[in-house]
Amino acid sequence: MSIDFLLTALLQGLGYASLALGVFLSLRIFNIPDITTDGSFTAGGAVTAILLTQHYHPLIVLIVAVFAGMIAGTTTGLILTRFKIQPLLAGILTMTALYSVNLAIMGRSNIPLIDTYDIFQFTHITNLSGSYIVVMVIAVLMLITKLYYILRTDFGIAMRATGNSEQMVRSMGVNTDRMKITGLAIANGLTAFSGYLITQYQGFADINMGLGIVISGLGSVMIGEALFKKRIKKSIIYSLIAVIIGSVAFRIIIAMALSLGLNPNYLKIVTAAIVLLIVGLSTSGKRKNQ
């Protein structure tokens, strides 16, 4: 494997890390399998592409893109809590509806970013690879420090307890419905941020860019957990770092599959198989422990 090849996988891994953190938040912290992800990732990308081509400042675009994801998450949260339906169904409903919304935002199915001023040019680093690395690393560091702080605050403790023991947190005065809505909003805001980064990194937004993306987030979380099995129990910071490393490892695995001559048309089935393999391995490990 060449350095270039690894660098690409690393940058992608860091770009998708925010999405993996979003999946970690909804699935592991809140115990909600949320598949709004596919739609909110594209929503982040769609908003980014349309605003950048209209020459908005990349930092303004960032805020709008994250906000779009948060609205998507809030919608799923409202469906989930108001109508008391399964999280998976709530997520599918929002995700399906978002396809039309995203298409309406974009106006067409693909928007290339040509001659736009994006977040990578904003760094004023002329070396493109250098700029990619700086932006991705800063983004991930900021996310981790912010999340690590929030999860240790009083509000964060209430968040973590909500997915853990709903009866208990309610008896401690926490409105669990509102907490779940907030959690899904943050999770999908993180996902949309990934859409924002990846759109600029790959230089276009596509209506299908989010297709099956929740699986890669899930895979990243699980690879991270498999690699950091012991440590993640000690402190929440290890869980967060595990997710980032999982995201990078996931991209390296995919890149390796492609470099071995895999037909890109089979990428989704390979992705699914990899995730299935990880799930299978981790659950069979658990069975032995019991």
Binding site: D154, I157, G173, T176
Partner: protein, 249 residues
């Protein structure tokens, strides 16, 4: 003071399995009074507790605490007044959180959970001091996840968590039903101690008739959704285990 007025609770209303769990129940629980409720399965004793806790909303009637009508308040809004101990000894604590984090949440039961970190050295010392009251040796392990402790330990900790924040009322729903005899005794002794030293208004639902006679001042017996017997401290002390056992025939 907790006051229930003409409470009706109907489960599965309008279906073949309709069940009148509480039928026109009125009850006043005086401040600092420890009341025990007994009754056979389906008599409505847990429903009575849940109506006060806010997890069951009555069809008719009103619930008030200190003259304040709380009938329409959600359970999480009532936590301002009420600490709860559950039948499931694991339900009162969050397993993946450490003892300290669990206690932090409990210390904010009546307040807002904000964006500041509250688990500092000073707070940890407070937790150690509170936990050492149980004499279980847990004060040296306050970073352990709750999930690594036994049901008895967790139920005992839930009791202490109940008084981490201002507490006037404690509701205990069969707190020892799922515990082994030794843990059950520990939990009941500590509960009694906490209730009396903090002068709490307490309501204990139990199937254990010995506990019902041994603990508390007032004794209620529920039957088919109504309060069948209501004994004050005086008449309760004159009641024997055999008398109570006969009530169930």
């Amino acid at each position: 003071m907790i006051a229930l007025k003409n409470i009706d609770v109907v489960f599965n209303s309008g279906t073949a399995s309709e069940l009148k769990a509480l039928n026109d129940v009125s009850l006043v629980l005086k401040e600092k009074e420890f009341t025990v409720v007994i009754g056979s399965n389906g008599s409505g004793k847990s429903t009575l507790l849940n109506v006060i806790a806010g997890t069951v909303t009555p069809e008719n009637g009103s619930v008030s605490i200190d003259e304040k009508d709380i009938t329409r308040k959600e359970d999480y809004e009532r936590s301002v007044f009420i600490s709860r101990i559950f039948q499931n000894p694991l339900a009162g604590t969050a397993p993946e959180l450490s003892i300290v984090d669990n206690f932090r949440l409990a210390s904010l039961r009546t307040r807002k959970k904000g964006f500041t970190i509250g688990t500092d050295k000073k707070f940890e010392e407070r937790v150690k001091e509170k936990v050492s009251f149980l004499k279980l040796g847990l004060e040296n392990n306050i970073y352990k996840p709750m999930g690594s402790l036994s049901g008895g330990q967790r139920q005992a900790l839930t009791l202490v968590m109940g008084i981490m924040d201002d507490c006037k009322i404690m509701l205990l729903d069969e707190p020892t039903a799922a515990l082994d005899p030794r843990s059950a005794r520990l939990v009941m002794e500590k509960a009694e101690e906490i209730i009396s030293t903090n002068q709490l208004t307490a309501l204990l639902v139990t199937h254990n008739l010995k506990d019902a006679l041994h603990y508390g001042e007032r004794l209620l017996m529920m039957q088919e959704g109504k309060i069948a017997r209501d004994l004050n401290a005086d008449s309760k002390s004159k009641t024997s285990f055999e008398d109570v056992a006969l009530w169930f025939d």
